[in-house]
Amino acid sequence: MAKLPESIPEIVAEFGPHLHTVPSGGWIRNSHEEKMVKTHCCFCGQQCGIQLRVSDNKVVGFEPWEDFPFNRGKLCPKGVKRYMQDEHPDRLKTPLQRVEGRGFEPIGWEPAMERIVAEIRRIQAANGKDAFAILTGASLTNEKAYLMGKFARVAMQTANIDYNGRLCMVSAGAASKKVFGVDRSANPWSDIPKAKVILIAGANVAECAPITTDYLWQARENGAKLIVIDPRMTPIARNADLFIPVRPGGDIGIFNGMLHVMIERGWIDRQFIAEHTTGFDAVEEAVRKYTPDYAAKIAGVPAEMIVKAAAMWGPAPTSFLLHARGIEHHSKGVDNCLAAINLVVASGRIGREGCGYAMITGQGNGQGAREQGQKCDQLPGSRDISNPEHRKFIADIWGVPEESIPGKGLSAVPLVEAIHDGRIKGLISICFNPTVSLPDANFVREALSKLEFYVNIDFFLSETARYADIVLPGSLMEEDEGTTTNVEGRVILHRKVVSPPGEAREDWKIICDLAARLGQPDKFNYASPKDIFEELRRASKGSTSDYSGMTWQRIDDNNGIFWPCPDEAHPGTPRLYEGGKFGHPDGKAHFMPVEWRPSAEMPDAEYPIFLTTGRVVSQFLSGTQTRRIGSLIEQYSQPVCEIHPRLAEKLGIADEDFVKVESRRGNVVVRAKLVKTIRPDTVFVPYHWPLDRSANNCTIRAIDPVSNIPEFKVAAVRISKVDQPTDPIAMLEVQAGGVR
């Protein structure tokens, strides 16, 4: 049984998270011994260009890369301090095995791999192939994402592979595919400053995609109006021309209300709608009842705001809509996105300079990692695993019989539920820290405790890896090479900057080794990630996300290439849908009518307050990397509960008091921070921290029926003042889940 082999403080003492504060070799360096490597940030979907300073196979610093056109040297605190994850005292350098009562002890690669193969065979023989599952991540390169999908279907023959993009991009992707037939931001970022009105829905751009802020400010200097929809006044909302403090889950009220007003006042493009779209009649019918008054009741804001938004957006000459997790992390996440996209299509302002639409991808390869076949329902090239033609095409690429490819598997949340109820007994995970990042964290920890055998591949011992039987030391982004696809759909190249330390290996080598031991040496016989990319190109040929015309050389020479790129003479496609040509077989955009419905759990007498969760600028996702970097923890050391002074007063809570935020599923004890920038019916807790400091102890395991994204943005909670906790977890350092 995979349970924690010793106490959490004991594990933390050995494996961290500890803080790294001084780079390898100290602060003052001898610069002429260095080289500078142009590569990209490992963190968010912006994938900013950055140069890493290298000395003696060690990353010792950074330098902006001003020639890279997307960010032109601009960075954020995470990118600047990224080099502090290298030469880190917590870095895993040998395989580890769980030893009951003693923790994790080194084991050689050979016995580790032998044991893994034996356990996979045992569990699959006794319970069927699907009883062994794989969870992967969207920070993996395209090559690794492709490899993981192929590994699951060919080497493991399990249907159950899914990835943490399930917590990120799936609502946006599904909506975009439904309307446009393509799952990608429609425009390059260079279109943003050319728009005269910009609508940002549920996107804390300044903190989660910092360099995009500059594009917004450029637009503003050019005279653009900015509309921001968010329950919190985030830094960009401060300068918005119209800030709409929507009630969590009320977004459809605003979108449908705006469209209602636009139709009423003739602020839609009837000609565009007639020539380039289908389904508008149903949408017109659906929004008829969304008068400003009705819409305002849903949105929890004054009706005038909705009218004003329509008046700004409706008649504008050019426009750009951006949305992110704020509207996507809902049990109606897809519908939220559809309602937003309807505003774009009804205006006819898409596929032109300064006119468009984008979803802001969260994870490093949030775009590419969802195209290469590691989703439970997808094969490479964004192909459908249930489509016989798609299956045949990929079976031929892989050289396997079509019928040997498993069908659709479970998505991340149902997959963890299947572990909890015993249907899945074995797990390999890479690049995923679900004990911090999935909703209902107590349930997730229970599930992991029930696994018969669990292999975790990572570079640090994450909170999730503590449940593993075997931990394999993989590679940091800078220790391997490969491509990612950024927020714009631009495919870029990460260079290998240093080699993995100690006995750590590049992730792709670990997977290929495992595949060979599982009896498929020939199908995983790659000499390099570039080899994998060459196969990925062929596998994507003719698909929506066509990479077949790209080579690493071309990507490098052109500062990235936008897909689709169907042949080597093709320049790539920065802007989609030019001339009103959309991705569906009929070439049209398909309007989808949307009706508002309540969130899975609405506040009630017992749990009367909305909890919404999100990120802060100095931390990234589950914090496996950023909670190990000294200055990033100093910047925002522990999660706080943002609460409006009026609500705090009613509950007898003062600034910096400890509060217990409690839902039906669990609680988190953090300090209160009184701010007027949040709705008084809502509190916010960022989710980057583990254990008793995890906002996800409270969130709900409700998922969108189409995208299966969890509802991180709405849970019902109650809040009470408590004493500062002094239990063993609270006494840990803040980066490990303690309090200060």
Partner: protein
Amino acid sequence: MSERIFFIDPTRCIHCRTCEASCASRDDHHGITMIHFTTTYPGGTSNRFAQACMHCTDPRCVRVCPVNAIPVAADGTVLGIDRDRCTGCKLCVEACPFEVPLYVESLNTVMKCDMCYDRCLGGERPLCVTACPTGALAFTSLAEAEEKRKGMILRDWTSAGEKIHTSAGLISHDDGDLFGNLLFDIADAVQGTDPSFSNADGAR
């Protein structure tokens, strides 16, 4: 004075502290940032914005230094403190109207922003400006700043009765509001909206 000038544009600032992180990473900074956040209290609320050396044309820090430890370059850049000369007396810390020089106890010296003089000589921009994700920091000509940025460029100040002119400029926006909608209270904005769709009793 060189053609390019350091600008601070507080409306663009998102307080992400990339400037501090990058400044602290400079080779001779010992992990210490020379740019820091200053808190102001407009209208009863607080806001912070990045404060770097403003490079006064007649710098008080230089005037008060008893050991001539703060050199000024030919172009007017007020350079970093000569650590061999500095005695740690902190007169410059007291004198600076912008609270820029920083006494570092572990080194018994004062350190200050030199606008990355070495980088700028090579044609680059200061590291904090280059890394700033929002354009809240800029290093460009006065003409370009006036053309590309809305607002007024402030370079004249009064401190302790003394008129001070700085090379660096602070960009103040037309409406005189440096920081955007700081007085906004969401509770006022949603006051009286219909709670029937949420049943959120916690806040009414």
